[in-house]
């Protein structure tokens, strides 16, 4: 198939626009100090916390996002389009707005604050708060990509299974889910990547304490104040991890 030759020019400009800043950052990394900078206690604590919380929020995204995507893709009801817009809202909201919203929901004086305190749970300034913030911003990524996969996959196999006597749960677990597994996998990885990069909602809602709530993006932002070199080195780590995550998704998608 022949592409018009001119499309390569804006395409190349666009690619350079995305890649050049990353290269510029590479030029500022002090490689001699790099190992020390990224393995300092605070850096390791931040990276570990980020990986742990992002994994936890990805699990939450799968647990709640899969049913949400199925409901949005397979049912029709009044106000569905409004509901879909609301679910997708965190995609376009400034993260700090998400943080404020979470604060007034789960905070001590928030909507659910008293209920949570009665249950003996402490959310403010805890790792739980980080996971909540990350889940809030990452959930739409999973729902969107899974809903897309469900819609393009169609319902033929499910209908056949149902006519052969399979119960709804069996159809869902044995037919629907296996069919959209690639979509689910890429959605989960996207959600993980988004959780990894979460900054605004975390700082607004969860606070920042080493090993408890200070994730990698928060550590980078803080280091920039006093040690720009460490900030650049850690940024590189985050870029590498994010690149790996995205590459893995692309692979799994094309393989299937």
């Amino acid at each position: 198939m022949g592409l018009p030759a001119w499309v390569f020019v804006p395409a190349a400009v666009g690619a350079v626009f995305v890649v050049l800043p990353l290269l510029a950052m590479l030029t500022r990394v002090e490689w001699a100090q790099f190992p020390d900078l990224v393995t300092s206690e605070s850096s390791r604590a931040a990276l570990l916390l980020s990986l742990r919380t992002s994994a936890a929020s990805t699990v939450l995204c799968v647990v709640f996002g899969v049913p949400m995507a199925v409901v949005l893709a397979r049912t029709e009801f009044r106000g569905q389009s409004v509901l879909r817009s609301l679910v997708l809202l965190p995609l376009v909201l400034p993260p700090v707005v998400g943080g404020i919203a979470l604060l007034y929901t789960f905070g001590r004086r928030g909507l659910l604050g008293e209920t949570i305190e009665v249950l003996g749970l402490q959310i403010a300034f805890s790792t739980t708060a980080v996971v909540l913030a990350q889940t809030f911003v990452a959930l739409p990524f999973l729902v969107v990509s899974l809903e897309g996969a469900l819609r393009t996959g169609g319902q033929r196999y499910e209908e056949v299974a149902a006519t052969l006597g399979a119960r709804p749960t069996t159809v869902f677990l044995r037919v629907t889910l296996p069919l959209v597994l690639p979509g689910l996998a890429s959605g989960a990885v996207l959600a993980f990547a988004r959780a990894l990069g979460e900054f605004g909602a975390t700082i607004t809602f969860a606070g920042s304490l080493q090993g408890v709530t200070r994730t990698l993006p928060l550590e980078i932002y803080l280091q920039r104040e006093s040690d720009p070199q460490a900030a650049v080195a850690l940024s590189l780590v985050l870029v590498v991890v994010a690149t790996l995550v995205i590459t893995v998704t692309r692979r799994s998608r094309t393989a299937l």
Binding site: G107, G207, E225
Partner: protein, 279 residues
């Protein structure tokens, strides 16, 4: 320096100010502020007439904590000098320094601490020595009603009290660390925030029982927080220096703004917001 278009009174004030700072040597001039502000006290008053040749536009890069006061001082200066326009970029001091170092179009820089101003003077980016124009001290901020019953600095170590501080890497955090060291108190915060506004936010939302912020922040927050002054705060007095920048295309207006801040009118605005006089 060119200031032939100025009325003599203003020129005198400027000269006195420059001499004052020069006489006190280089650096942030911690001791220069007092004499400078008094000698330049007529600057803003003198500028109220017209025909002093000020025109055009400048951009002032100023620490976020100066937003209210500087906006007021800028508006006063514009009113006194029709045809001038003072624009602002408010952000964390270190962000602003990074932008200035990368060539951002700034005419004046006002920092919330001498450390960040030193980074700018170290690269000879200012057109004159910085002048300290105000200072600020820490105060304990608690939610209305003071649910955790905090009365003293030592109360911040009570178990079960959720205290939020700035991280030691940012100015309000290093000030907090200094006060802790001087008082021999070891606070275990539940969060170390990136900025004083983040600390204040956690207190006003009632998430934290107490936080260490500046006196001006408590005053600016109105009824949403209560402030508790404590004697140990004198161990860390934060100085605010200001300087016109070499890269300015409107040196006259840039200097006029510095004079307005150090002058009587500007000092009054700052005092009303809770800033203390330059130490």
């Amino acid at each position: 320096m060119i200031r032939r278009l100025r009325p003599t009174r203003l020129a005198l004030a400027v000269t006195a100010l420059t001499l004052g700072t020069v006489a006190c040597g280089s650096g942030a001039g911690d001791s220069a502020g007092g004499s400078a502000s008094s000698s330049a006290s007529q600057a803003s008053g003198g500028a109220s007439g017209s025909g002093n040749g000020l025109s055009g536009e400048i951009t002032v890069f100023a620490a976020a904590s100066l937003k209210k006061t500087f906006t007021q001082i800028g508006a006063d200066l514009e009113k006194a000098n029709p045809g001038t326009s003072v624009k602002f970029s408010f952000a964390g001091s270190s962000d602003l320094v990074a932008q200035i170092q990368q060539g951002a179009p700034a005419d004046v820089f006002a920092s919330a601490d001498t450390k960040n101003m030193d980074k700018v003077t170290a690269e000879s980016l200012t057109s004159a020595d910085p002048v300290v124009f105000a200072s600020n001290t820490l105060e304990i901020a608690v939610p209305p009603g003071n649910p955790a019953k905090i009365t003293s600095f030592a109360d911040l170590t009570k178990s079960g009290t959720k205290v939020v501080l700035c991280a030691p890497a940012v100015p309000c955090g290093s000030a907090a660390a200094k006060v802790e060291a001087a008082a021999g108190v070891d606070i275990k915060p539940v969060s170390e925030e990136q900025s004083v506004t983040d600390v204040l936010g956690k207190v006003t939302a009632g998430e934290a029982d107490a936080g260490l912020v500046y006196v001006t922040d408590v005053l600016g927050a109105g009824d949403t927080v209560q402030g508790i002054a404590f004697p140990e705060s004198s161990a860390a007095v934060n100085s605010y220096p200001i300087a016109a920048l070499k890269a300015s295309k409107n040196a006259a207006l840039a200097e006029a703004f510095v004079e307005a801040v150090t002058g009587e009118g500007g000092q009054q605005v700052l005092a009303d917001a809770g800033f203390a006089k330059a130490p």
